[in-house]
Assembly symmetry: C2
Homo-oligomer: 367 residues x 2
Amino acid sequence: MSDVHAARRGRLRAHCSGTGSDAALVSRPANIHYLAGVAPPGAVLLVGPAEDILIRPRDLPEEGGARADDDLRVHALDAPDGDPAVAAADLAGAAGAGAMAVEEHHLTVARHRALASVAPRLRLADLGRTVEELRLVKDDEEIACLRIAAEIADQALGELLESILVGRTERHLALELERRLVDHGAQGPAFPTAVGTGPHSGRAGHVPTDRRVEEGDFLTVCLGARYRGYRCEIGRTFVIGAAPDDWQIELYDMVFAAQRAGREALAPGAEYREVDHAARQVLDAAGHGEALGPWTGHGVGLEIDEDPKLSPAAMGKLDACVPVTVEPGVHLPGRGGVRIDDTLVVRPPADGGPELLTITTKELLAL
Amino acid sequence: MSDVHAARRGRLRAHCSGTGSDAALVSRPANIHYLAGVAPPGAVLLVGPAEDILIRPRDLPEEGGARADDDLRVHALDAPDGDPAVAAADLAGAAGAGAMAVEEHHLTVARHRALASVAPRLRLADLGRTVEELRLVKDDEEIACLRIAAEIADQALGELLESILVGRTERHLALELERRLVDHGAQGPAFPTAVGTGPHSGRAGHVPTDRRVEEGDFLTVCLGARYRGYRCEIGRTFVIGAAPDDWQIELYDMVFAAQRAGREALAPGAEYREVDHAARQVLDAAGHGEALGPWTGHGVGLEIDEDPKLSPAAMGKLDACVPVTVEPGVHLPGRGGVRIDDTLVVRPPADGGPELLTITTKELLAL
């Protein structure tokens, strides 16, 4: 793996020298993880001007298992309250860097000012979302991690479906799912598990409450596993009891059609907003466009919610090997709703089209 | 509660007008929660120049249960990708504010620049850690929340001690503790539960692994509950099996003595570093000073790790009604160690001295 990270840092270094900076200070944890293989809490990564250095605060508990590449120097601060970013500016200045690019979308105003004052002759430029852009297209190893993460989430969800659900609270179902994720080898949940039943069903990011599952409810579950840092997402909606009502079947079929349209629009070269439009128009046509959130999918990887956003205003086109979610949902206030969410990898038609990572059935199951 | 939040915003407004700003933009979530009673994801709070407004992104899932005060206007953005902070600058400028104080230690450089460009005639000042300072001393209602949070953590820990521990993994014990916290009424864990056994025992913030508890191990558990937003912390170390070894008894007694010294040093008017020194010198004298982290305790409240820090370099004095942890620990690489952690509220001697919130026994239990 160390070659992979060194190669990524090489690409970043090439970008920086192309824009006139001889060093880059990476502070956003997922970006550090991408470039160094680890991201200890509070650490920053200085790339260039000479060697690359991971700078971490004093006296951190060691990370369980993960360690930096052998070829990456790790420097722990002596001062108990020292800021690794300030130390990085100091080191870059001392190493003769003229300009250092920083992540202005992550660094706070106060830290930026502290950097400027410790190395007044170092020009601070904006690195922008360069590392996020490098992270967009995933390599085989990254996709393998996502595939395992999806498999774990499918297993945890499958086991839940075999148990008795009526009478249990949203909170308990969420905790049980998270325990099962860990049982199957996840480092932890990819994001806080959402379980919504009855009037809470179909809501995005619903925080589980003490409401108990009842006969006749819709039950929406959204979960994901984190595996070697990579995060996937799956969401399903079920109906509780012998037979769904007509309005439930109708709403389910409509959201399913929207989700399928979104999935089918995934292809290298497809515009982000085309994919969003494909899913959105199905719900719009049925008069549910207002109930839809600002996006119908997003990238996943080291963060659960990364580029690209699949939304009406998003600019850009999909590439092959970009993993995204497709997750339209409708929530009718007071009644509940439906949300269906998959993680897929964009692939060209010649390779069979989009690769579905989360394979739990999307039939409307009556549990 | 709405009077409480309005009064807190009044104090912030008084501070701002005293420093020449007629509005404050609060972006740090715990600070928003303190001033508004809720902190929807991505929201910001504009205090002044006329009314106070909670500005949130478009289309958020409603928060479970919590809502803003009736007297606080809530404004949801229309634009799907709009930044509430930028909208706040716009509103403040339109309402005639001349200067707006922002949280430069929280706002990123990129957002700060966006604010400046949307309202070029609005002078942006630094609010600094004003709200964090207002949050230091807790009122009775806040302390009542912390007391309940501590009670929940004590219950969860007590139940774990009654179960069989040998053969179970750190991960499973941590998950079970988190489930029990929720069973007893917590909103969730106050921070990721740390369970370390054998060579992992005694480490601060240890990320649970698949190591199983064995006879003869030290077992360190650190957990906390979140109740109505407030977070407490408790840490205990146990020994597994019939009788502890001599080195285990010796190490335990020493850390216990250090922790007691720290607790006994808590009093209104005591310097932060005095309290740290009281605990630290016991371990220093025994040659374990190096194994100790940069601080031996910290404030708790809406965040688990808030001001003050009890460390050698910390400046300032404790006040009554400031809740803090006292949590020295020693970890011997390869062997393990001991960590003992309580949450207490500083009280004057006339009121009986520090109030211990986490009451689980600190005897060395052999389980």
